[in-house]
Amino acid sequence: MRVTKNPDKRKLPTVVAVVKWSKENLFSSTLNTIASLTIIFLILKGLGPLFKWLFVDSVWEGTATTCRSSSGACLVFLKEKFVFILFGFYPRELLWRPIVSLILFIGMLWWSKEPRRWSKRLLWRWVKLLALIALLLKGGLLGFESVDTQKIGGLPLTLILAFFGMIFSYPLGIILALARSGNLFILRNLAICYIELVRGVPMISLLFMASVLFPLFAPEGLVLPKLLRAQVAIIIFMSAYMAEVVRAGLSSIPKGQYEAADALGFSYWQKMRLVILPQALKAVIPPTVNTAIGMFKDTSLVVIIALSDLLMTTKTSLKEPKWLGFSTEAYLFVACIYFIFCFSMSCYSRRLEKEFSSRRKG
């Protein structure tokens, strides 16, 4: 990469540039050459069969029987099942509704990624958009046919669980972290109990509690949809982890910053909001996103309480006798979807970090 920074070298013809780049980066020393060659060899050896399986021997047209007679990937299966994997049991004739929701949601995420657009107005737009998406997915109002929440599945469900999990657990985590690092005895100990208890149990058990135990103890007549209960369990779980991330950020801020803010007469909340949190939260962007990515994937655990998220729809599509045994194709496909989202998050976090640190340097 360093090569491109040098203006002389940028003018070189591509082939020469590639050779020069490889010489400098791959074969600069004996050890480097050995390492490069070994790794290139291993990659080719590993990727070769995968390439053959996926592109050369693969079956694009035909039926399950054609697939079985071939040694390649069965893309027929994906062609037939990808709508089900993405959208689960959502009524086929209403499929445009989750599709439009998905496009709106991702479009809005894309629009919101610029920090300069962050404002109260953007927040309002989000509220409006989410209301619209809720209307589209659930229906039952304004002439939209109602759809049972149990039928919402696949990618929209995974995104709902992850998105609301993140936007609720982040502020909750901040409050917990503040309570834990504050000096109010009761609040501090409550926060410690909460964090340690929640971190001490696996998320699966929280999901079970939400789906099995909650209805047993809930007041009579109170029936919450399973989706909502799972969502609450995810928020509870994630906020404990977020709290610890934020707490690390809080303790990374030098004592002098707290004292300077105190000396100027700020109240506790002003001090936190204006001086400490802006610095602390920026400092922990990488672990925050790390937690968020972990949570995004952990939403797949709702499989065990029979919500049909992305992973569940994949599994279900494999249960059809006709398609038994094509799990490699299915899981590779769903892995790609998870990867796209997680990798975007990770790229975005790097961009945010860069942007904030360059801003500070003026």
Binding site: G256, Q257, A260, A261, D262, L264, F266
Partner: protein, 241 residues
């Protein structure tokens, strides 16, 4: 303006400040000096309750410092503090550093606070850096911004906790000049410092501390030419060579 009487402070079992009595009138300039570990920084930090004293009384402008946060915030508004390590807010520009407290603590409109901030920045001769971030400034410039930040609250008292100790030698002068001009305008000042030249020039009184006690309190002339206690003689001998 400031009254301290029979004030004591402990860190655990360690008795840092012992029976402190001090009166500071309006417009007075006090320089607090003494060997390191004598409790001078702790004393000055007690004055806006960054450190909490255990018994005795501290009152500023007639308000006693105790657990009452309302009173404390009122006192802190009127008491500016300058730290050894500047403690500017690194995520804000110089101008934002200066206007943050006036806007949020005093509720001043943005335009008013910015106008005043620019005026004060001109006074400390760094108006041209207003839109930069603190990390781009030299130590001396940062400390002058820190003084300006405190001045933006229109304080009645300024506390300086070794304001030049973290600076490179060539930057000490520019900071001291600002402090001298502030003194000349009649600001009430308490200053912990080793700059004896500054003490001679501006101090109305010098308070010499050792092992948590005020050992001697005298006008600069008397203190430098005719120190009474053995400890102050030793200290002066060491510091003035």
């Amino acid at each position: 303006m400031i009254t301290i009487s029979e004030m004591n402070k402990w860190y655990g079992d360690f008795h840092v400040l012992k029976d402190i009595n001090l009166e500071v009138g309006e417009g007075e300039k006090i320089v607090i000096c003494g060997p390191s570990g004598s409790g001078k920084s702790t004393l000055i930090r007690c004055l806006n309750r960054l450190e909490v004293h255990q018994n005795g009384l501290i009152a500023i402008g007639g308000i006693e410092l105790d657990d009452n946060t309302k009173n404390l915030q009122r006192v802190r508004r009127d008491v500016g503090m300058v730290f050894q390590d500047f403690n500017l807010f690194p995520h804000l520009t110089i101008l934002e550093n200066l206007t943050l407290a006036p806007q949020w603590v005093k509720g001043e409109p943005k335009a008013v606070s910015e106008e005043q901030a620019m005026k004060i920045l001109k006074r400390v001769a760094i108006a041209d850096q207003a839109y930069k971030f603190p990390s781009l400034l030299s130590g001396g410039q940062q400390q002058r911004v820190a003084i300006a930040r405190a001045l933006c609250m229109n304080p009645k008292v300024m506390l300086f906790d070794e304001p030049t100790s973290a600076l490179d030698p060539e930057m000490v002068k520019e900071v001291l000049e600002v402090m001298v001009s502030l003194a000349e305008e009649g600001m009430t000042m308490l200053c912990v410092t080793h700059e004896m030249g500054f003490a001679k020039q501006v101090a109305d009184r010098i308070v010499f501390m050792d092992e948590g006690r005020i050992v001697e309190e005298a006008g600069p002339e008397e203190f430098f030419s005719n120190p009474k206690s053995e400890r102050s003689k030793e200290f002066l001998a060491q510091i003035l060579h």
